[in-house]
């Protein structure tokens, strides 16, 4: 279980996260929705150790993460798909995936997981020797997801995986997220596409300028008038 308590994160003098608490239980899909600049990416980076919080605690299965370096957190089973399709452009698809397993040592396990990723994203298999920088936007997003899966995470953080993709591809990505979850990986999903995210989420939180303003099940929030007005277009 991932438990965030009274988290505060600042960039210099600017407080981007002003004290939020939420939790993600094992096996759940939890989504964090909010407008641009609400602090979603900041929250994700704080959890995976890329940013040091100013205050508060982040616990994974009872262990405090805020003092740990990112590579320690990855090896504890928490992986992140960063915002904006960040692939290693000058390396092949296969090398990108291998790097996803950077913190692991079990060679046979890594090979098996690579096959599993290829089963999930057949398009990546066809392009395994292609440079990641020459993949299409959708393929790069798949690669970023596959790479995170190579860490064999028990919990996966995804920051706007559907950003900038065609409607068809968005559906595909959301199906894959559900599939990853059904195989036992807990998911914390950040999305602008609130409608889609709420539809697959067990629970959801609304983040507004650094504070959580609403919480509930995916269905509850999807039917909430305030959410409808602000995030679902009326």
């Amino acid at each position: 279980m991932l438990k965030i308590t009274d988290l505060k994160v600042s960039y210099g003098m600017i407080e981007a996260i002003k004290g939020i608490s939420f939790e993600v239980n094992d096996g759940e899909i939890v989504t964090l929705i909010g407008a641009n600049g609400a602090g979603k990416t900041t929250t994700m980076h704080a959890i995976s150790g890329l940013l040091k919080p100013r205050a508060g605690s982040i616990e994974l299965d009872g262990q405090e993460l805020t003092k740990l370096a990112p590579h320690k957190i990855v090896s504890m089973g928490l992986a992140q798909v960063p915002e904006g399709r960040r692939v290693f452009a000058q390396q092949t698809v296969e090398e990108n995936l291998t790097l996803g397993a950077y913190t692991r040592k079990d060679k046979p396990g890594i090979a098996a997981d690579m096959e599993e990723v290829f089963a999930l994203f057949p398009r990546l298999k066809e392009r395994r020797r292609q440079m990641a920088g020459t993949l299409s936007g959708g393929e790069q997003q798949m690669l970023a997801m596959g790479r995170a899966l190579m860490a064999k995470p028990s919990i996966l953080l995804m920051d706007e995986p559907s950003m900038g993709l065609s409607p068809l591809l968005v559906s595909e990505i959301f199906h894959i997220i559900e599939e990853i979850n059904s195989k036992g990986t807990t998911i914390l999903l950040v999305e602008q596409n609130a409608k889609r995210a709420l539809a697959i989420a067990d629970r959801a939180y609304v983040l507004e300028t650094g504070l959580i303003t609403l919480a509930g099940t995916g269905e509850e929030l999807a039917n909430d008038e305030r959410v409808k007005k602000a995030y679902l277009g009326g």
């Binding site: 995976s48 150790g49 890329l50 370096a69 990112p70 590579h71 957190i73 990855v74 090896s75 992986a79 992140q80 798909v81 960063p82 960040r86 692939v87 290693f88 452009a89 000058q90 390396q91 090398e95 291998t98 790097l99 996803g100 950077y102 913190t103 970023a144 790479r147 995170a148 190579m150 860490a151």
Partner: protein
């Protein structure tokens, strides 16, 4: 249609980039070595050419190291010559002080080169620890400053050696030596009276060692991590790569190679002034790296050889020398950055690969 095109099975070392780049650079070096040795022994090599052999080797090694730092790790370093300087003066002093105790020149050369490499790596460590923790191009600024500092330091250093050991001073004429003692460093005059123990063979061996080290690193797990940190910092951190450690590794290896190269360089001349390793030399090394191609070690070797030899070969054409040099620079730039040529080589490699994957 009809008969299937006959597939030629090429050996793996010609198709996989990781092997191909090794084969290419090792064969260039070994072929060059063989040809030059033969020419030297048959007396077909001019004295000018012969005198350039060791320095060319030194520049190649320093440039290979720099390419690891700039091309593979993506950190700009404007002070590579300065690491050569540290290695050179360490080596000269050590060799000078060992002249009485270690009689074999080869052993002294090896010890001096190791000491030069270690000294340069030590300075790399001191610079790298604070600077590489920061995000941004701070390494360029700091290595630039480091170059000036080291030059001023050595320019003002007086070091003597006698039966009682080393005598050191920052003030002229303060070093008093017993009879039989020897001055190793003479301030602005640098090191004088150095016994010239560098050899071309040592240079070639040093190049081979540096290629082995750099290729081993490039195509290892650490090497992929170094490139990942260069390509995308956030993604690299998110998969658990320690950015600081990877950048440090590349930087230290680079400094270390420059130090060993500097040692070989210093022991090739009877006098060596600190001004030899100034900002211009650092920039020249960077030019070799950029023109040879970032991350391309074979290219670095070729660019270094051409650009070191060219001005010397053109010495007789005083008036046109710089003109021709500039034209060649532009030509190399066009060649290595030309889209048509690049697609052409890519097509060839793809063809080779397809044939082997069959």
């Amino acid at each position: 249609m009809g008969a299937e095109k006959k597939k030629i099975k090429l050996p793996v070392f010609l198709t996989k980039p990781r092997y191909r780049s090794r084969v290419a650079s090792f064969s260039i070096i070994l072929a060059g070595w063989l040809i030059l040795e033969i020419m030297m022994h048959t007396g077909n090599l001019s004295s000018l050419f012969t005198s350039l052999l060791v320095p060319v080797c030194c520049y190649i090694v320093a440039a290979i190291g720099l390419n690891l730092n700039v091309g593979i790790s993506g950190e700009l370093n404007l002070g590579q010559a300065c690491f050569m300087s540290v290695g050179a003066f360490t080596a000269v002093c050590l060799s000078g002080s060992m002249a009485g105790s270690v009689s074999s020149p080869l052993l002294r050369l090896i010890l001096a080169m190791v000491a030069g490499a270690v000294a340069a790596a030590f300075f790399g460590l001191i610079i790298g620890i604070p600077v590489l923790k920061l995000e941004g191009d701070y390494l360029a600024i700091v290595t630039l400053a480091f170059g000036q500092i080291i030059k001023s330091l050595i320019t003002n250093m007086y070091l003597g050696f006698d039966a009682a050991g080393f005598h050191f001073s920052f003030v002229d004429n303060k070093v008093e030596l017993q009879p039989g003692g020897k001055m190793l460093l003479n301030g602005p005059m640098g090191a004088t009276g150095t016994e010239r123990i560098s050899t071309f063979s040592a240079g070639v061996v040093l190049i081979l060692i540096s290629l082995i080290v750099v290729f081993h690193l490039m195509y290892s797990r650490s090497g992929r991590a170094i490139m990942a940190a260069r390509d995308n910092r956030i993604a690299a951190e998110s998969v658990g790569i320690e950015i600081f450690r990877t950048k440090m590794l590349a930087f230290i290896v680079s400094s270390c190679l420059a130090g060993a190269a500097g040692a070989l360089y210093g022991l090739n001349y009877s006098t060596l002034v600190p001004a030899k390793f100034d900002f211009n030399t650092s920039i020249l090394l960077l030019v070799y790296v950029v023109l040879g191609g970032l991350g391309n070690m074979t290219g670095t070797i070729i660019a270094t050889v051409v650009l070191v030899l060219l001005p010397e070969l053109l010495r007789s054409m005083q008036d046109y020398r710089m003109l021709i040099y500039a034209i060649v620079l532009i030509l190399i730039m066009l060649l290595t950055n030309n889209e048509t040529i690049r697609t052409w080589t890519m097509r060839i490699t793809r063809k080779l690969r397809r044939q082997t994957n069959g």
